[in-house]
């Protein structure tokens, strides 16, 4: 048995706290007796009487004295623990004293409360999103920036910082991601599986993940990059990081890359990285010539649907084949009815539709047209074959996004049906987290009114649509499809399938059929943010 003391200078503790400390020390293995006291003369005398103190000790009334008797090695540990516990906070929760615990008020506070956090999801107004993203990166978090209206300079700076830190930035204006089965932003409830997705387009990724789910396969992770990632200013930083992450991910067997065509130099970099992923990569650069996508392990796909089917085939070890399935439908049109009117809520769907229909029907005008001559001069009024992206700024100013608020599209539906030149109306219906709780229910009255408006003019219109969603989505795929069918919508499985049907339905023009649009890397078509 040995006795040892330690003095903590100028630290006051009340006697009850010190008795508790003494008791805790005495219970330690190898400790026979322990006492922690303020070093007053009286207390020192008590220690001497208890034979815990021999002679003098260099401690005053304001100093805290710890005395321990026990086995040699246990003593130092006990004294260390005693000293540490004095500078530690209380054991267990700090009393709230009837005060309710409040939510953290800053990112830093939230990280302090949840130290295992590995991602910040930022959907603040765009003005503040870059600052929050920078904080998140500084604190070691990966970032998804759902917010739009973040400046290009900020995006460059954030992605550079992320690169330095080995972190991922998804966005800005990244609408969709799924990480380890957890939906982030506007995402669908899809099965988990072996297919990983990297995408610069939110609805494009929703389409891939939903089609994969519909085909019975599943998603490992879906990594969004934001629409600007693939331009020459950013250089594909997040796309490359996403590929790298999925390449290293054991769960991921096949990767799908979906975006508008990157700037040529960026495309080259991305394709080079993709071909080194060590697993098959299906590439869909919307509207790009598939011949430009060459490399080991690379599988070009013309449509998002093809990309999804190819991924599922590759995951099952089969050879991918282009999808050609088209449902049969027949509608008798009047001679005046010559045009398709696409009313889209998903920007990528509208963009893909105008590409695919342009190839089949000739000139298709759109507010998101690739070529200037196809630009719709008044997005509020259709002319000839028309595809309208209702998520465009011009429609969302002061109004929620059409995936959330269907009023504008409902009005337009009835208006188009009343136009004697309209033959087919094409719509998308997007389900999932973030979308309206019952899109079909919202649209049904307008769909019926549209049919009625055509009938009033002695015509019939075809309304062709597809639902981007899964059975597990909050809205329920089957319930939504049933309501839509009952309201007179001819449903397809995908955007591409709907487009094929439309092309079959629309009466043939006399004009010659155009070649598919060539890749046009300088084009800048903004992907629109949703609901912000």
């Amino acid at each position: 048995m040995a006795v040892s003391t330690r003095v903590v200078r100028n630290l006051y503790r009340d006697s009850v706290s010190l008795m508790q400390l003494s008791a805790a020390l005495a219970k330690r293995p190898g400790i026979d007796e322990a006492s922690a006291v303020m070093a007053t003369p009286t207390n020192l005398d008590l220690l001497r009487e208890a034979k815990l103190l021999d002679g003098q000790v260099d401690a005053g009334v304001n100093d805290l004295l710890i005395v321990v008797r026990g086995d040699g090695p246990a003593i130092k540990a006990a004294l260390d623990e005693a000293e540490a516990s004095l500078s530690r906070g209380p054991e267990g929760a700090i009393g709230q004293g009837g005060v309710a615990k409040k939510a953290p008020r800053s990112l830093a506070m939230a990280v302090a409360e949840q130290p295992s956090a590995n991602l910040a999801l930022i959907s603040t107004p765009g003005d503040y999103a870059a600052a929050e993203a920078r904080k998140a990166l500084n604190l070691g978090l990966n970032v998804m920036i759902f917010s739009d209206n973040v400046g290009l300079a900020s995006e460059i700076a954030l992605k550079r910082l992320a690169e330095e830190r080995g972190l991922l930035v998804m966005g800005p204006d990244c609408g969709t991601a799924i990480i380890s089965g957890v939906p982030l932003g506007f995402a669908n409830a899809v099965r988990r599986g072996a297919i990983g997705v990297v995408g610069a387009s939110g609805t494009g990724m929703q389409q891939v993940t939903c089609l994969v789910d519909r085909l019975g396969a599943g998603i490992s992770h879906a990594i969004g990059t934001g629409g600007r990632d693939i331009n020459h200013h950013i250089g594909g930083t997040s796309t490359l990081r996403g590929l790298e992450l999925l390449a290293a991910d054991k769960e991921t067997k096949v990767i799908v890359l979906v975006s508008k065509p990157p700037a040529p130099a960026v495309a080259e970099k991305i394709l080079a990285a993709a071909s080194k992923a060590g697993k098959p990569v299906v590439v869909n650069f919307l509207g790009a010539d598939p011949k430009t996508i060459k490399g080991r392990n690379l599988h070009p796909a013309t449509t998002i649907e093809d990309a999804s089917h190819a991924a599922v085939a590759l995951a099952k070890g089969r050879k991918p084949r282009p999808v050609t399935r088209t449902p049969s439908a027949r509608v008798g049109f009047k001679p005046s009815q010559r045009y398709v009117r696409g009313l889209y809520s998903g920007g990528t769907f509208g963009y893909e539709a105008s590409l695919l229909l342009g190839a089949k029907l000739g000139a298709v005008r759109s507010n998101v047209a690739i070529k200037d001559e196809d630009k719709l001069d008044d997005p509020w009024t259709s002319r000839g074959h028309t595809i309208v992206d209702l998520g465009d700024d011009v429609f969302t100013r002061g109004r929620p996004h059409p995936m959330i608020d269907h009023r504008l599209r409902n009005e337009r539906l009835v208006k188009e049906a009343g136009d004697p030149t309209t033959a087919v109306i094409l719509v998308d219906i997007v389900l999932g987290h973030g979308a309206h709780a019952d899109p079909a229910g919202e649209m049904a009255p307008a769909l019926r009114a549209a049919h009625a408006a055509a009938k009033k003019g002695g015509r019939r219109v075809a309304i062709v649509g597809f639902v981007c969603g899964t059975p597990a989505d909050p809205q329920g795929l089957a319930r939504q499809e049933k309501q839509l069918r009952e309201a007179g919508v001819i449903l397809c499985a995908s955007n591409a399938e709907a487009v094929r049907l439309v092309a079959r339905l629309v009466p043939a023009e006399k004009k010659p059929v155009k070649k598919p649009a060539k890749r046009s890397p300088t084009k800048k078509t903004k992907k629109k943010g949703r609901g912000r």
């Binding site: 006051y12 800053s106 506070m109 992450l245 973030g434």
Partner: protein, 468 residues
């Protein structure tokens, strides 16, 4: 590699709450932030803040500054005459509370106190002459804080006044404060009548020498243990000092009787100290000043080392921004007013006593001073809430100052300008309220807060100094 895909997804959600629900519904970990635009929506300041958050240089500087604050050991070592002990206090110079301010812009109580001090010093024959002298430019005015000093309310310290001397042997710095005059007509509230000046002379001739003699008997008195004990006795040492005053009195009384002081001076001095619940306030403030000065001057640190009000502007200083003051118009205190007075009669927030909150006591330790929550217009739960809320803007808790109602957690201490600007949560301050006219005195008390814009300016400057 970030390990994002291999580990369980744990999300911090900032913005739309529905996203957090979707994450939780899918089994992801998620914490939703109760977010508002930082810096009250000032975007450039918000960008500057973002560069400071998680910045390794700032974190390292803060650790150094905060450790210095925690390890400081203020001791009461004596009483001296200001001209002999306060560094840089020259003849024809008067120190005041808060950031530096010109005579013409000073508030009523500060001008009144200065006029009293000029007559007390014998530099002016009467108050009219004093006013002329003060406005003539022949007197230099300076902030107490530029001289390691603090003073409550107007905080007037002139060369002949006695001051408490606090020594911090750990870092080798000293701090000073004047002696508390009690309540009623007092110089710190701008009163300057003959009885006020007579009391100041009695301080100089009788009280100060007697205290000095007593402190020679006691030797240095360690203040942190005494303050820790007073916290357990219901003081927060800003608006309530009765326990600390009693603890001090206990030491001084016995020492005085054994000292060389005359029996009648001992009796008069003890009577004065015993009659004033605020005797300890100025010592508390100077002790806090000594602790905060120990932490000042660490380049890169975002620790607040001064919060002070001159009756016109609220000002703060920050460890990593050198001598700079960050000021904004001082708010009027929406507190409880004595009968016959209202907020319309109040001078804007005044005094150096917010050094106590800067140091983690005062309003930050409201949880220990439940007896005065009514006085500051609240309930006990509110008092605990104030202390808990402050822990969100501080660097830590001071293990030397524990709070029984919060399970003996330390007081939240070490205000971080980054946390203030990020959360928009302003530091709370317990305070007395002075009448806007000189000499009327205290007309109420309440709880107020340090304005956000001081902290926003400080964030801008710290980022600029760090080249961010």
């Amino acid at each position: 590699m970030s390990g994002l895909l291999a580990n369980k997804l744990e999300v911090i959600n900032i913005g739309l709450p529905s996203f957090a629900e979707a994450i939780a519904g899918a089994g992801g970990g998620v914490t939703h932030v109760d977010w508002t635009p930082p810096a009250a929506g000032d975007r450039p300041a918000g960008e500057a803040l973002a560069k400071l958050v998680g910045n390794p240089a700032v974190e390292a500087a803060n650790k150094k500054a905060y450790d210095a604050y925690l390890s400081a050991q203020p001791r009461l070592v004596g009483v001296g005459i200001a001209r002999d002990v306060v560094p840089g206090l020259e003849e024809r110079m008067v120190l005041h509370a808060g950031a530096p301010i010109d005579w013409a812009r000073m508030c009523g109580p500060m001008q009144g106190g200065i006029c009293g001090a000029l007559v007390y010093e014998g530099w002016a024959s009467d108050l009219d002459a004093a006013r002329q002298l003060a406005s003539s430019g022949a007197i230099r005015f300076d902030s107490c804080h530029h001289h390691a000093a603090v003073g409550p309310m107007a905080g007037i310290i002139s060369p002949s006044m006695p001051v408490w001397i606090i020594d911090n042997p750990v870092h080798g710095n000293r701090s000073y404060s004047n002696l508390n005059e009690g309540l009623g007509k007092v110089l710190r509230y701008g009163a300057n009548s003959p009885e006020v000046l007579a009391r100041l002379r009695w301080f100089e001739t009788t009280l100060a020498p007697t205290l000095k003699a007593a402190l020679e008997v006691t030797g240095p008195i360690d203040l942190k243990p005494m303050m820790a004990q007073a916290l357990h006795m219901g003081d927060e040492m800003h608006n309530r000092n009765v326990a600390a005053t009693a603890l001090l009195f206990r030491k001084l009384a016995t020492a005085m009787t054994r000292s060389s002081a005359k029996a009648e001076d001992v009796a008069a001095s003890l009577e004065f100290l015993a009659a004033n619940d605020f005797s300890f306030l100025n010592i508390s403030m100077a002790a806090c000043k000594a602790m905060m000065d120990a932490a000042h001057g660490v380049e890169g640190s975002s620790l607040v080392t001064v919060m002070a009000r001159n009756g016109v502007e609220f000002g703060i200083r920050v460890s990593g921004t050198g001598d700079a003051w960050f000021t904004t118009p001082a708010p009027r205190v929406n507190g409880l007013y004595f009968p016959g007075y209202s907020i319309a009669d109040a001078a804007p927030d005044l005094g150096d006593s917010a050094i106590t909150e800067t140091c983690g006591i005062g309003g930050f330790a409201m949880a220990s001073a439940l007896a005065i929550v009514k006085f500051i217009g609240g309930t006990p739960d509110q008092a605990l809430g104030y202390t808990q809320a402050m822990s969100t803007i501080t660097m830590g808790r001071n293990p030397g100052f524990t709070l029984p109602p919060l399970n003996f957690a330390g007081t939240p201490a070490g205000i971080d300008i980054r946390k203030v600007v990020d959360t928009g949560l302003e530091p709370v301050i317990n305070t007395g309220i002075a009448h806007k006219d000189a000499g009327v005195g205290q007309i109420g008390a309440g709880i107020t807060s340090a304005p956000l814009s001081c902290f926003t300016k400080a964030v801008d400057e710290l980022a600029r100094r760090l080249g961010l």
